[in-house]
Each structure stands twice: as structure tokens, then as C-alpha cells.
Symmetry: D2
């Protein structure tokens, strides 16, 4: 996907504790990187999670499915860019796409995460807040599928 | 998938540091749980990773794709079972299936991980070692697809 | 300190994701091991944290100081024992001692952690609950200093 | 210690996965923050670890002791500064001091870490490389004790 399609970019440097004996970042840590990118996304649309979302809408966001493709390996001290965009806004679920790059040439990770908006305690699906939907549509460069 | 299909089971208790402010295990940590289950698998087939594999076969195993479905949430101190089996042995790739249970009733996670056997430095695909293949076939209760 | 002085012992196996490029457990993870040992301690005295403590006593426990000596290094798949005992019960603070062993011969870590009992929100020191104190005294083989 | 005494400052933002159910950063993660600060330090003196040190000097650096005082708690999304300086250069050991601040007013953590320079495999103490010593002395604003 063209880089311009991603309105949100989180930069980080790989930490020592994230690298394993294969001298590459342990596979689970990419989900931490992705999670920090999505925190940037919430902030960018003006709804910092959790106080800007959970308290405001009386609903919460739970991860339903993660698909991660490992195309290359990040190494200690690599400077990475985690690109993030909303690709689909359903009734109560939403899909985000991620790409993790090292420089302009090395695409290391592509990922798709599906979240569900739900009641914080009952964890039953609840429609996406209309204001949240509007903020995502205003922020994204190409509209997510609906 | 029936529990009997899984020849390998890793037990663990959720640690405090793995639980986030939503009071559930952070999504990336399930890949750590899965990784410890697969370490048990290597040991169970008599090829403890890495010394029983990387040095023996002059090849190494790299994760190519992970798909994780989050059906429920684990909480602090939950005792979990991570079930693990090989479901497909390709020429140089192999697929493992995982289920994470809390007790007999709560299936929290299903996951599929695809690994590629590759040259440790060049990281080019290398056929699965025949001995490894035989050990997997001897260990599994129903034969993986080939 | 003689091993018999430790009434509580937590066993664990080192995970792949905890080992770094020096092929030893990353230094911060020993505090995670220690934290899981102290969770066992709470359970052993019949006050599982947090519900058996925070809700029961309307106070919470915060770490004030940690001193960790690294005498040896744990490696991937090592089976470790984390020994834990209360060595001092002050008015509102308490001190725990830890030793992490690999087998009977290799003492890898000694640590001392000082906790303060405090109001959960205000975080001002509050006397240790008398019932908690009695349970610790009943559990320990040699009495903590007071 | 006056802030000007610290020649090295690492900035970071607290990640979701680092915060526990007490809504504060889990105590072990501060050692990860400190470790990333010291990586900055190596880079700042022109000896990026490990290739600029381990290969150059045929010795490696191992943590011997860590003392961490928890004065305050970091929260999700806090922007922190991890200050770092060498305070003592012994024959084969060295001591670093750290302070973790949130803004100019909240000192959350002070820490002292003692490292030993040692043979990478034998792990026996080896004198600090003279070039390393000179680089530290040139970098620090007030000379470390020797």
C-alpha cells in the first residue's frame, strides 16, 4: 500500500530487551509497537485513549483478531516507522492496517488488527460512536470502507 | 478442534506484569505464551531448540505469519493451558495450531503460526530436515497435512 | 542465608523472550520473576493480591526500593527457584528478601525489596494491617524483625 | 543531584503494555528504560554497544548490582526523561547514576547501577579499556570518581 495512504506514523528505536538470541526482535513485541502506533492514532484524532474514549462513550475497544506477516527482521537499535490507518469502519467493529518499515527500502511487517467496540464490563458489542466515526473519516486521506 | 488432537500442552499462570489497565492480558503476550508452548514441543520431540535444531541441521526456524483470534480475555493469576500441534509440514514451511484455555470451558485464544526453515544467516528457505519431519509425524496423534 | 529460612519458593523456566543477545536473561526480568514469587507469597498466607488485600484492608502495597545483586546469569530454559521471605515488618513498611537459584549450586540473584503500605489513591503511608502482620508471623519460620 | 550533572538524557513515552492494574508502570520496566538510556550513552561517547565495544575491546559489560528507589509512579502516556551519568570508574567496574523525571517537578526514580567489564565467555573481570575511560572523562561534565 502506498505510504501516503497512512496518515499516522509512529517512530521508535528497537530496545536491547526486545531482541532475542536470534539477534532479531522477538515476534510478540511487534504487537507492542503496533499498540503504541494506535495510541498515537487516538491522540491524532483528538480522542486520547482511554480517558478520551472509554469515559466519553461508555464503551471500550477490544482486540478481536490480529494477523501479522513477518517479511523481515528488525535488529537492535534499528529506527523503525510504524504506519497505521483505519481501513474499515463496521457497525461495531473496525479494522486497522499497519506497516513497519526500516528506512524507505525495508518493509519488515504488515499487519491487520480487528477491534470491536463493546460495553466495558459486559463486553457485548456496541455500535461505534458516531463522533469517533466522523473523526476517523476526517483524519484519513482515503476513506475507510464502511 | 477436539482437545485430543493436541499432543502438547503447556501450563502457565498469568503474571502481574502481563496484565494491563483493562485488567486483561496485553494482546502481545499471548505470542509469548505460544512461544513457550512451542519450546515444549521441540523438547517433547527430542530436539530442544536451539541447540538440538540449529546446530544439528545447520538451519533455523523463522516465524513467517501469525494469526491470532481473541475470543476471551485472560486475567491476573488465571491458570492457562496452551495447546499446540503441527497441522501442516510443507517442503520448507510448517504450520502450528494453538488454543489457549482457562479450564475446560473457556477457550480464550486460537492461533495459527507459519514458520519457515531457512539458512541461519542467508535466511533463504531450506527444506525441513527429514529427521525433524519423522519426529513430528511420530509425535502427533493425527498426521499433519503434507 | 540458609535455604530453610525461606518459607516460599516459586519455580519457573526461563522463556525465550526473556533472553537477550548476551544469551542471558535481561536484567529487568528478574524483577518480574521476583514479583511472581511475591504473588505466591500472598496466596500462601491466604491473602491473594489484590482482591484479598486491597479490598480487604482499603490500602495497597507500593514498591519503595529494590536492590538486586547479579551473581550469575540465567540462560534460556533454565529451571529456576525464586525463594522469598519477609525479613522485616515495620509500622507501614516491610522488607522482603529473595534468592534466585539454578539447582542447588548456582545462586544467581539476591535481592531486597522494600514495600510501603499506603492509601490506594492518596498514596500516603498507612500502618500494616494487624491481620496481615499476624499471618506473616505465622507463616515465616524465623520471625521477621519488627 | 543537579540536572546539569547529567550529560546524557533519553526521552520516552510510557507504553500501554508497560502499565499494570495499579495504573502505574510495572517496577521492572524502569530497568528497561534505564537500559535504553545507557544505550544512548554508549552512542554519545562514540562506542555504540555491542559492536563498538565488545568487538573492539574483546571484553563485555555485565550488570553486577542495581539499586532503584521508587519515589513516584509513571502513568500511561507520561513523557519521561531518563538522565544518565557515569559517577565512578574503577579498575574493572564502573558505576552509573540515573534519574527519571516527568517534567521539571516530578522525580520518579533514582537508580545506581554497577557494571563490571569482563571477558565475554569466561566472565572474569578485565580492566576497563583505557580508550573507553578517556571517552567517558571527555564526555562527563564533572569527572567521575576513579
Amino acid at each position: 500500500m502506498p505510504r501516503e495512504e497512512f496518515a499516522c506514523c509512529h517512530r521508535l528505536r528497537v530496545r536491547w530487551a526486545e531482541v532475542d538470541m536470534q539477534k532479531i526482535v522477538f515476534n510478540g513485541h511487534y504487537l507492542t509497537y503496533i499498540d503504541t502506533a494506535i495510541a498515537d492514532y487516538w491522540r491524532a484524532i483528538g480522542l486520547p485513549y482511554p480517558e478520551g474514549y472509554v469515559e466519553r462513550y461508555a464503551s471500550d475497544v477490544f482486540l478481536r483478531k490480529a494477523t501479522v506477516e513477518y517479511l523481515g527482521s528488525a535488529h537492535y537499535e534499528d529506527e523503525l516507522e510504524v504506519l497505521c490507518r483505519a481501513s474499515r469502519l463496521g457497525r461495531s467493529s473496525m479494522t486497522f492496517l499497519f506497516e513497519i518499515w526500516r528506512g524507505a527500502a525495508d518493509l519488515l511487517i504488515t499487519a491487520e488488527l480487528v477491534y470491536v467496540n463493546a460495553h466495558p464490563q459486559a463486553k457485548t458489542a456496541v455500535p461505534l460512536p458516531e463522533e469517533f466515526r466522523q473523526r476517523v473519516l476526517a483524519f484519513e486521506r482515503t476513506a475507510p470502507a464502511q
